[in-house]
């Protein structure tokens, strides 16, 4: 037990990462912006415990995260539907759920269960986690491995005491429970803005894109959500065997490799890519895509680009 306020990690589940709002601005040098996958849930987590939006927190993949605290504080886990059980030093325990703002006391042991719905829980503590920055951010990028390394059992996570991530020193929780952001379901509808390389694909493929049901592959991760297409998306005849000169990519790009099974880019996507992008998820659906469990099904729906975003000819 150290003197400074901290959590001691007992177990991490499949993966527990430190994330924040990422390191935008370095794409031209091959560094991805990274940051929270489900940005809305992360923002809500920080807001619920009175932190500023840039406070580093834990992104827990599929639960199993367990830790003890040596100080009194507040925490929340949000983004998924799961149980948060708290065992006190005196042996008594209490079951909370995700979306509860939970008052913790020194000696409490917290365990986040695997989620019934959703994939990534955002675990925020009042004041934020005190972790180093790499290239301006504490986000861990699974592709470049920039950032504080994934959490491991036995690790001590210091809690910020200087208050730089705190809005108001006199803060008390405004709400005791958040309304869940995402519908509890294993079948998801995601919105897609078509293009820019939709013209690489047959008319039938575009139709199939928006009518068929895709299945989320277990090889999905923060780099991309891999979808299994019942009907692989076919390129136009004249594009088969052709290469696209690598071009900049963004989160939410739906890239279609030659096998016709789309990949939806996540926060740690490669900065440039050479497979045609048939469409891009709306920002809201990007966050939603961070909550798809392997085996879940997905349908894509077109969302026309705004008036400002129409193709401009010369």
């Amino acid at each position: 037990m150290s003197d400074y306020p901290s959590f001691t990690i007992l177990a991490t589940g499949p993966q527990a990462l430190i994330e924040d709002r990422g390191r935008p601005g370095h794409a031209a040098t091959g560094i991805s912006a990274s940051g929270h996958f489900d940005r809305l849930s992360a923002a809500r987590a920080n807001h619920a415990v009175g932190n500023t939006p840039d406070a580093p927190l834990i992104e827990s993949l599929f639960g199993g995260l367990s830790f003890t605290t040596n100080c009194d504080t507040y925490m929340i886990a949000t983004g998924v539907l799961a149980t948060v059980s708290v065992r006190h030093a005196d042996g008594t325990s209490k079951n909370h759920t995700t979306n509860d703002v939970i008052r913790l006391f020194a000696g409490d042991q917290v365990t986040l269960s695997a989620p019934e719905y959703g994939l990534r829980a955002y675990v925020a503590v009042r004041g934020a986690f005190d972790v180093p920055q790499v290239v301006g951010s504490s986000a861990f990028d699974v592709m470049s491995t920039l950032g504080p390394k994934p959490l491991s059992a036995g690790q001590q996570l210091a809690i910020e005491t200087t208050g730089r991530f705190i809005h108001d020193p006199d803060w008390l929780p405004l709400v005791s429970h958040l309304v869940p952001l995402w519908k509890p379901t294993h079948h998801h509808i995601l919105k897609v803005i078509p293009g820019p390389r939709d013209y690489w694909f047959t008319t039938e493929a575009i139709q199939n894109l928006f009518t068929q049901t895709f299945t989320v592959n277990s090889s999905s991760n923060r780099v991309g959500v891999r979808l299994q297409a019942a009907i692989p998306l076919q390129r136009r005849q004249e594009r088969i065997g052709k290469e696209l000169a690598s071009e900049g990519m963004v989160r939410g790009c739906i890239q279609v490799p030659p096998d016709g099974n789309p990949v939806i880019f996540g926060p740690d996507h490669p900065v440039t890519g050479g497979y045609p992008v048939i469409g891009v998820l709306t920002s809201f659906s990007c966050d939603h895509s961070g909550q798809l469990q392997p085996g879940d099904t997905v349908q894509l729906k077109p969302q026309p680009a705004g008036r400002s975003q129409q193709a401009v000819g010369r």
Binding site: A27, I193, I206, G248, G306, A311, V312
Partner: protein, 233 residues
């Protein structure tokens, strides 16, 4: 779906700007555009366009990502209006300017020491129908310019003025290429900043670090910088 009949037809319009989701735009640049911008090659027009957009200091732009034939512009809606950004960029594209000349800015000229002992030296020399010595001499006497980055932190695609350079990629990419590999593909030279898979032809190796997380900026080579390779023994 609501899209018109012409939607999927190949668009003839040049210097197209298209949305890339709701927070980014992609600009396509071709040979005709290069002419309009007074540039010999598409890549030069890409950099001129990128420089012109950067110089305009449009609020809300978080990234400019130039690549071989495109520029991607990402927008933060909390700091700028995507509609306004799109309009402003349209204006810039409609007014080609030779003032977007990147060589006017102060750039760094890097001299990168290389031991030319790569596995593909002989094969590449054979492709160009020259001796290995001549190939190395040509590589070291060329002044390369960093056109754009992208595939990995610290990696820059280096281009030059000489159209002689056109190296085919390897038919089978290697699963692992050592850090510091100096390699060729198409009209590009590049240095692998970290061990990674890759399909470029390896000429040699350098000990010079391309990427250092503790440095500011972490990448050695910036867009527009000049590079000369120096043979080491």
């Amino acid at each position: 779906m609501g899209a018109g009949r012409g939607y999927y037809e190949k668009k003839a319009a040049r210097m197209r700007i298209q949305p890339m989701g709701d927070r980014a735009l992609i600009i396509d640049i071709d040979d005709a555009d290069a002419n309009a911008w007074g540039q010999a090659r598409v890549i030069d027009a890409v950099l001129a366009v990128s420089a012109a957009i950067a110089a305009a200091k449009i609020p809300g732009i978080t990234e400019l990502v130039p690549a071989a034939q495109t520029v991607v512009v990402t927008i933060d809606p909390n700091h700028g209006d995507p509609t306004a950004v799109h309009s402003r960029i349209s204006q810039i594209l409609a007014n080609p300017t030779a003032a977007g000349n990147t060589s006017a800015a102060a750039t760094t000229h890097h001299h990168i020491p290389v031991t030319y002992t790569g596995d593909d030296l002989a094969e590449v020399a054979e492709h160009y129908q020259v001796s290995v010595e001549a190939l190395v001499k040509k590589h070291t006497s060329t002044t390369w310019t960093a056109a754009f980055g992208g595939f990995a932190p610290g990696f820059s695609y280096l281009v030059c003025d000489d159209p002689w350079w056109n190296t085919p990629r390897r038919a089978q990419p290697r699963p692992s290429i050592p850090q510091g590999s100096v390699a060729l593909a198409g009209g590009y030279s590049g240095v692998y900043p970290q061990q990674s898979p890759g399909g470029w032809q390896i000429l040699g190796f350098t000990d010079q670090l391309m990427f250092d997380v503790d440095a500011t900026p972490p990448n050695l080579i910036g867009v527009g910088d000049l590079v000369t390779f120096v043979e080491e023994n």
